[in-house]
């Protein structure tokens, strides 16, 4: 009897964890977007108040953030300083490609960020400020969508995992 209970609990735990893993995909995206937005806010400060040229600005941000974003900004900064791509848009897109692979950002986030790269640095400060504001609004929309999807799916996957564990447990016992 004791063994049965232990085995059952193990199944329950395994299924529950599977559910949590599936739910994580949804809970990660809003976090990723939020983190990205915070880094873009740093970029805005660099541009609007510091007037720092982009390669240097990216470098500064890479020093302040962690993880995947760090390598994203580091990559672009290197690319621009070495003059490898000869264009901001190309460097940004290449960096973004990698960022999307390593995070839970979706293709709609990618498109949005990619478009922002096209205007980054291409106009005077006043104009850049407007682009930043617009980008925040768009990011916010994506974030809300992601949040909604999270609310809907996170709980569902979690309880689904747990419940399926219970079902198996009952069937086996």
């Amino acid at each position: 009897m004791m063994l049965k209970v232990i085995g059952g609990l193990l199944i329950l735990a395994a299924c529950g964890l599977m559910g949590i893993a599936a739910a994580n995909k949804y809970s990660q995206r809003p976090k990723d977007i939020r983190r990205f937005r915070a880094s873009i806010q740093m970029l805005e400060t660099e541009i609007i108040y510091g007037c720092t040229p982009l390669p240097q600005a990216f470098h500064n941000i890479a020093n302040k953030v962690e993880g995947t974003l760090k390598s994203f900004y580091h990559f672009i900064s290197e690319d621009l300083s070495v003059g490898f791509s000869y264009s901001m848009v190309a460097a940004w897109s290449k960096g973004l490609e990698k960022l999307v692979c390593d995070t839970s950002l979706t293709s709609s986030d990618k498109e949005l960020i990619d478009n922002f790269g096209k205007v980054l640095g291409s106009s005077d400060r006043e104009d850049q400020k407007k682009h930043f504001e617009l980008f925040y609004i768009q990011l916010k929309q994506n974030e809300e969508q992601a949040e909604e999807a999270r609310k809907k799916n996170e709980k569902m996957y979690k309880s689904l995992g747990f419940l399926s564990g219970i079902v198996i447990f009952i069937l086996l016992v």
Partner: protein
């Protein structure tokens, strides 16, 4: 050293056009002075007083119809490269119509001007770009130094008058270098020179350090407006000589007057083709009254760097038979 200046400029030229230009023979490439991109227009280079039109494979063509035509993309990329991908950090430069890149080379830009309260706010739709290769010519000022060094171990207040592209900045730079380092053959001891380099063209500073040789006793105020710069220099660096490029506004005139009254010698330049041009500028009226003791008039009659004549404070010619003598 000058031979390689063109390669500093090439770094700021869009890939497509760079590949085309690099097809030129090295000797021809190294003689280039200007590279011009016009949106929808042919790619034209100037060097040694000659014009070169290139096609898409870097071959010279005579008919502009066969030339490589610069695309919108080329111009966009060029602007992006020249401004280090950040137009916003070059707002002032763009307003003035040019950006100075590493090595002191100047990139001129033209487009649609956006006005705000009658003043230029920015340039939009940039469609004309001119890369100008700046060259340092050591010894460019040799021919004129004799006339600006005076007997009591000092120099005269000097104004260089020259149309664009005649080498006035080159001469000024070499004057500064020689006066600052001292000229043994003339018995001139080195002087403390304060250089106000508003456009980073003379010293070509990068991160505050001069990339051109401007002498060992030269302090450089990089990117500073002339009028303010002159006052800062006098207050803080106790210069014996102040040097600056292309004066023109009435504030400049006021500051120079202050400097001369403070006992500092001035070397500066102005756009024009003869002394009359200088006297006709109302903004510089304060400087018309025999303040300058030497006027050097330049042209490109016998090539870049031709000295037309040297005048004294009463506009009398001291020397004018520089015929066929080239300084550059």
């Amino acid at each position: 050293m000058n031979k390689f200046k063109i390669y500093e400029v090439l770094k700021y030229i869009p890939k497509e056009i760079k590949t085309i230009i690099e097809n030129l023979s090295p000797s021809l490439l190294e003689s280039m002075e200007e590279i011009r991109l016009r949106q929808g227009g042919p790619l034209i280079l100037y060097g040694g007083g000659k014009e070169y039109i290139l096609d898409g494979h870097g071959r010279l063509v005579f008919d502009a119809r066969n030339a490589y035509v610069c695309t919108t993309e080329d111009i966009k990329n060029a602007i992006s490269l020249v401004t280090n991908f950040s137009i916003y950090s070059f707002e002032d430069e763009i307003r003035n119509g040019f950006v100075t890149i590493d090595g002191g080379h100047r990139v001129g830009i033209c487009g649609k001007v956006v006005l705000e309260n009658g003043r230029i706010r920015t340039l939009r739709d940039i469609s004309f770009i001119n890369y100008r290769v700046a060259r340092q010519v050591l010894g460019a000022a040799d021919k004129v130094l004799n006339y600006i060094v005076n007997s009591n171990n000092s120099i005269y207040n000097t104004l260089i008058i020259s149309p664009p592209q005649c080498g006035k900045t080159t001469i000024l730079r070499d004057m500064i270098r020689q006066i600052s380092s001292g000229i043994e053959t003339m018995g001139l001891k080195g002087k403390k020179v304060g250089l106000i380099d508003e456009r980073s063209e003379i010293a070509a500073c990068n991160l505050g350090l001069p990339k051109n040789n401007v002498g060992i006793r030269t302090d450089v105020l990089d990117g500073c407006p002339k009028a303010e710069g002159i006052l800062i220099m006098i207050r803080s660096m106790s210069p014996e000589i102040l040097a600056t490029d292309e004066i023109g506004r009435s504030e400049d005139a006021g500051a120079i007057l202050d400097a001369i009254n403070a006992g500092v010698k001035i070397i500066t330049t102005i756009h024009g083709s003869d002394i009359e041009d200088f006297l006709r500028k109302p903004a510089l009226e304060k400087l018309h009254k025999n303040l300058f003791e030497r006027y050097i008039i330049m042209s490109r009659r016998h090539g870049v760097g031709t000295i037309e004549s040297i005048l004294d404070s009463n506009y009398k010619s001291i020397k004018s038979n520089f015929a066929k003598e080239k300084t550059l």
